[in-house]
C-alpha cells in the first residue's frame, strides 16, 4: 500500500509535533479574565444584535452557578478561568473582502498546515487540487471562507457563525442551543457565554451539498482559549459531509478549547461529520503544556429516517474529554460513531459517545479503537439507551483497545440502559497488546520497527479510517503514525 510507505517517509521527515510554530502577527485581545463586561465586549466586537447579547449574558449567569465537573477519568490542576484571554483576533482594518486582503502571515500559516485556502488555485484547475470548501478560524475569528459563491448557487449557506448571526438571524435563533442547551454542562455553558466564532452550515431541502465542507481551527495566541460554536442544519432530504481539523502551537502553559457543535438532521437528511484533531499534546516526558480539549458535540436526528455519522481521529490534546452523541428522535433514524483515539506520552483521553434512542426502529453503531502508548491513559465511555416508547431499537458496539508498551492504560466504560423489551443491543470489547510476535514477523519480511508499528496500527484502525473522506484518511493515517513515533523501544 503506497499510503503506508508514504506515511513512513513523512514520519521520518517530521518532528514529533510539526504544527508547533507560532505566527507572529498583530493581535487584538480582550482584557484578561472573565466577567459580564467581557461577554459584552465580545458581543460588541462581533456587532451582534441585542438578542444574542442577552442569550450570552443569560448563559454567563447560569455558568456562575455551576460547578466544574470532575467525573471523567482524567487528572489535571484546577483551571483558573480568570487567567486567560477570551478574545484574541488578528488586527485588521475592515473585514476581509477577498483573500488578497488577508494578512499574508496568516495565509502562510495555513499554507504550512496544508490547508487549501487558495481557492484560486483550485478554480484555475491546478491538477489534483482537492475540491472542498474551507472556513478557517484563527484564534477567535473566522478569517476566510472559500467557495461561498458556488455553494450559494445551490442554496447552501456556509459562513462564519458571527456572520450567520447578522445575516441569517431567523435560522440561528431557531436552532442555536436547540441541541445543546446553554445549561447543558459546565463547558457548554461557558461556551455559550463567550463563544467567538465557528462555522454555520445550512443545507436546504433536497440539496446534496456538492462538495466537502471543512473548518480549520488554529489556536495561535498565548494564554487564550478557543470557544468556537458550530451549527449545522440539514433540512429535509439533504446531505452534507463536513470535516474539522485542529492544531495549535507548542506552548508551556495549558490552553482551553471548549467548543460546542450542534447538528440538526431533519426528515430523510444525512450529516457526516469528521474530525481530525491534532492539538498540541504537551511535553511527552513532563506532561507540561498542551490543549485541554473539553468539547460538547451532539446531533439531533430530529426527522424520521434521518442519519448522522460521527467519525473522529483524536491524536492530540493533553486532555481529551468529549462524547459526540446522537439523539435518535425521529422514527427510523440512525446514528453512527467511529473513533480512533491515540494517546502517547502523558496524554489523557476520556472519550466515547451517547446514542439516545427515542424513536421507534432506530439504529446505532459504535466502533471505537483506542491506542495507548507511553505513560498515557485512554478511556472509552459510552452510553446506549432507549426510553420505554422506542420499539425495536438496535445498537451494535465494538470497543477495541491496543496497548503499546508497559506503562500505558486502557479503560472501557460502557453504560447500557434499555427500558424497552424489544431493544437489541450488542456489545463487544477487546484489549490487546501490540505483540512481539507480530513485530518480529513484519520485520523478518523487511519492515523496520517503526514501519512495522505503523503497519500494524493502521491495520487495527482500518475499519474507522475507511469512514473518512479519502484525502483525510491519508492525513489521519500519517497523524496516527506520527503520534506513536518512538513509542516502541
Amino acid at each position: 500500500m503506497a499510503a503506508v510507505t508514504k506515511t513512513v517517509e513523512q514520519v521520518k521527515a517530521l518532528e514529533a509535533y510539526e504544527h508547533g510554530f507560532v505566527t507572529d502577527i498583530e493581535q487584538e485581545f480582550a482584557p484578561k479574565g472573565l466577567n459580564a463586561d467581557i461577554v459584552r465586549f465580545i458581543s460588541a466586537k462581533k456587532g451582534e444584535p441585542d438578542w444574542m447579547l442577552q442569550w450570552r449574558l443569560e448563559a454567563f449567569e447560569r455558568w456562575l452557578a455551576l460547578d466544574e465537573p470532575d467525573w471523567a477519568n482524567v487528572d489535571y490542576p484546577k483551571i483558573d478561568f480568570q487567567d486567560a484571554y477570551y478574545y484574541a483576533a488578528p488586527k485588521e482594518k475592515v473585514g476581509p473582502k477577498s483573500l488578497d486582503e488577508i494578512d499574508p502571515d496568516i495565509l502562510e500559516t495555513y499554507k504550512k498546515l496544508g490547508i487549501p485556502l487558495r481557492e484560486q488555485e483550485v478554480l484555475l484547475g491546478v491538477e489534483g487540487a482537492p475540491r472542498y470548501a474551507v472556513d478557517a478560524v484563527f484564534d477567535s475569528v473566522s478569517v476566510v471562507t472559500t467557495f461561498k459563491k458556488e455553494l450559494a448557487a445551490v442554496g447552501v449557506i456556509f459562513c462564519p457563525m458571527s456572520e450567520a448571526i447578522r445575516e441569517h438571524p431567523e435560522l440561528v435563533r431557531q436552532y442555536l442551543g436547540s441541541v445543546v442547551p446553554t445549561s447543558d454542562n459546565y463547558y457548554a455553558c461557558l461556551n455559550s457565554a463567550v463563544f467567538s466564532d465557528g462555522s454555520f452550515v445550512y443545507v436546504p431541502p433536497g440539496v446534496r451539498c456538492p462538495m466537502e465542507l471543512s473548518t480549520y481551527f488554529r489556536i495561535n495566541a498565548a494564554q487564550s482559549g478557543q470557544f468556537e460554536r458550530t451549527l449545522i442544519i440539514a433540512d429535509a432530504g439533504s446531505y452534507v459531509s463536513y470535516l474539522e481539523g485542529c492544531t495549535a502551537p507548542m506552548r508551556d502553559e495549558n490552553q482551553l478549547h471548549a467548543a460546542v457543535v450542534e447538528l440538526v438532521a431533519l426528515e430523510d437528511a444525512e450529516i457526516k461529520y469528521s474530525t481530525v484533531q491534532n492539538w498540541f499534546p504537551g511535553d511527552p516526558v513532563t506532561g507540561k503544556g498542551g490543549i485541554y480539549n473539553f468539547v460538547t458535540k451532539r446531533a439531533d436526528c430530529r426527522g424520521d429516517r434521518s442519519k448522522v455519522s460521527w467519525t473522529q481521529v483524536e491524536t492530540g490534546s493533553a486532555i481529551t474529554w468529549k462524547y459526540p452523541s446522537c439523539i435518535l428522535r425521529g422514527d427510523g433514524s440512525s446514528g453512527e460513531f467511529y473513533s480512533i483515539a491515540v494517546t502517547n506520552g502523558r496524554q489523557q483521553a476520556d472519550t466515547g459517545t451517547k446514542m439516545i434512542h427515542l424513536g421507534s426502529d432506530t439504529k446505532s453503531r459504535i466502533i471505537s479503537k483506542g491506542i495507548s502508548a507511553g505513560a498515557s491513559s485512554n478511556t472509552y465511555r459510552g452510553l446506549v439507551s432507549t426510553n420505554h416508547k422506542a420499539a425495536n431499537a438496535r445498537n451494535f458496539t465494538q470497543c477495541d483497545s491496543l496497548l503499546i508498551g508497559k506503562t500505558c492504560a486502557a479503560h472501557t466504560v460502557p453504560y447500557i440502559e434499555a427500558r424497552n423489551a424489544t431493544a437489541k443491543f450488542e456489545h463487544e470489547a477487546t484489549t490487546t497488546r501490540l505483540s512481539e510476535d507480530q513485530l518480529f514477523y513484519a520485520m523478518q519480511r523487511g519492515l523496520s520497527k517503526e514501519d512495522a508499528v505503523a503497519l500494524l496500527v493502521n491495520g487495527f484502525v482500518r475499519e474507522v479510517l475507511q469512514e473518512l473522506p479519502m484525502e483525510f484518511a491519508v492525513e489521519a493515517q500519517k497523524l496516527v503514525a506520527i503520534s506513536l513515533e518512538g513509542s516502541v523501544g
Binding site: M1, A2, V4, T5, S435, E436, D437, Q438, F440, Y441, A442, M443, Q444, R445, G446, L447, S448, K449, D451, A452, L455, L456, N458, G459, F460, V461, R462, E463
Partner: protein, 246 residues
C-alpha cells in the same frame, strides 16, 4: 553462501545452541533434523535476529558478510527469509498490502526502485495461481482466521513474491495434509536455483520426499551431531533420535 561457526546462543539465560558449525553452499538444500527441544527453532530465530535470542559466541556470515550485526529487517533485505512454523495473524492488514509494503521496504533498503502496482499485481496473480491460492484470500487480513494449511501456503506465497536468496523453512510440513504438502513442496522446489540456498528444518522425513535435500544434518543438544546424504533421513526415520539423545 551461509557459514555458521561455533555458534552459541542463549534464550532467557539458558544456553540452547552450544557450538554449532554448519556450511550451506549456494545452490544446495540442507535439511536440519532432530528431536524436539534440540534447538531447531532457536537456530531459525538466531539466524533471523529475533529479540531475546542472545548470541554469546561464534559467527554467522552470508556471502562473507556478518549477519549477526544486522537488524532483522536488514537481514531480510539481504535476502534471508524465514517461513514460520506458526505464521502470525495480522488483523486489518490485507495480505497483498503486507507483502507489497515489505517488498518495497526491501527494495528501498537495497537502493532499488519501488515495484509498480500493476507489475506487483500481475506477479501476485501468477504466484497465487501456481500455489492454488484464491486471489480473493490475498485481500483479506493476513492469516486472520486462516487454516493451518492456508497459513503455510501464504508463507510460501510471500517467499515467492520476495524472492529471497537464503530460505529457512521451519517445520513447513506441520499441519499440512498430503495435497497441501505437495502444493507447498512444488512452490519451494520452484525456487531452487544455483544462486539460492535453503535450510529445511523438520522433525519428520516425510517432507524430504518432496523437497529433496543435498545434505542432511542431525541437530541434537545444540550441536550438529551427524551429517550425511539423503539416506541419513531415512535412517533417522527408521531408528529414531534415541542415539543422539543427550
Amino acid at each position: 553462501m551461509l557459514e555458521i561457526t561455533n555458534l552459541h546462543a542463549t534464550v532467557g539465560g539458558t544456553e540452547i545452541l552450544k557450538g554449532l558449525t554448519l556450511s550451506v553452499p549456494a545452490g544446495e538444500v540442507h535439511a536440519i533434523m532432530g528431536p524436539n527441544g534440540a534447538g531447531k527453532s532457536t537456530l531459525s530465530y538466531v539466524l533471523t535476529g529475533r529479540e531475546g535470542y542472545e548470541v554469546t559466541e561464534g559467527t554467522v556470515t552470508l556471502d562473507s558478510e556478518d549477519l549477526l550485526a544486522l537488524e532483522p529487517n536488514q537481514r531480510a533485505a539481504k535476502g534471508v527469509f524465514l517461513s514460520f512454523q506458526y505464521p502470525i495473524e495480522i488483523p486489518g492488514v490485507p495480505g497483498l498490502t503486507f507483502i507489497r509494503t515489505a517488498l518495497n521496504a526491501q527494495h528501498k533498503a537495497r537502493g532499488e526502485d519501488e515495484v509498480s502496482a500493476p507489475a506487483f499485481l500481475k506477479r501476485a496473480r501468477e504466484v497465487a495461481a501456481s500455489l492454488k491460492i484464491d486471489f480473493e484470500m490475498l485481500k483479506r487480513s493476513l492469516n486472520a482466521g486462516f487454516s493451518g494449511g492456508e497459513k503455510k501456503r501464504m508463507e510460501i506465497f510471500q517467499m515467492a513474491m520476495l524472492e529471497p536468496r537464503f530460505l529457512i523453512l521451519d517445520e513447513t510440513d506441520s499441519g499440512l495434509d498430503i495435497d497441501a504438502l505437495k502444493i507447498v513442496s512444488e512452490g519451494v522446489n520452484a525456487m531452487r536455483s544455483p544462486e539460492r540456498a535453503m535450510l529445511v528444518i523438520t522433525h519428520y522425513q516425510r517432507l524430504l520426499d518432496y523437497i529433496k535435500p543435498d545434505r542432511v544434518h542431525v541437530l541434537a543438544d545444540g550441536r550438529i551431531a551427524a551429517s550425511g546424504g539423503p539416506e541419513l533421513a531415512h535412517q533417522l526415520e527408521a531408528e529414531g533420535y534415541d542415539k543422539y539423545a543427550a
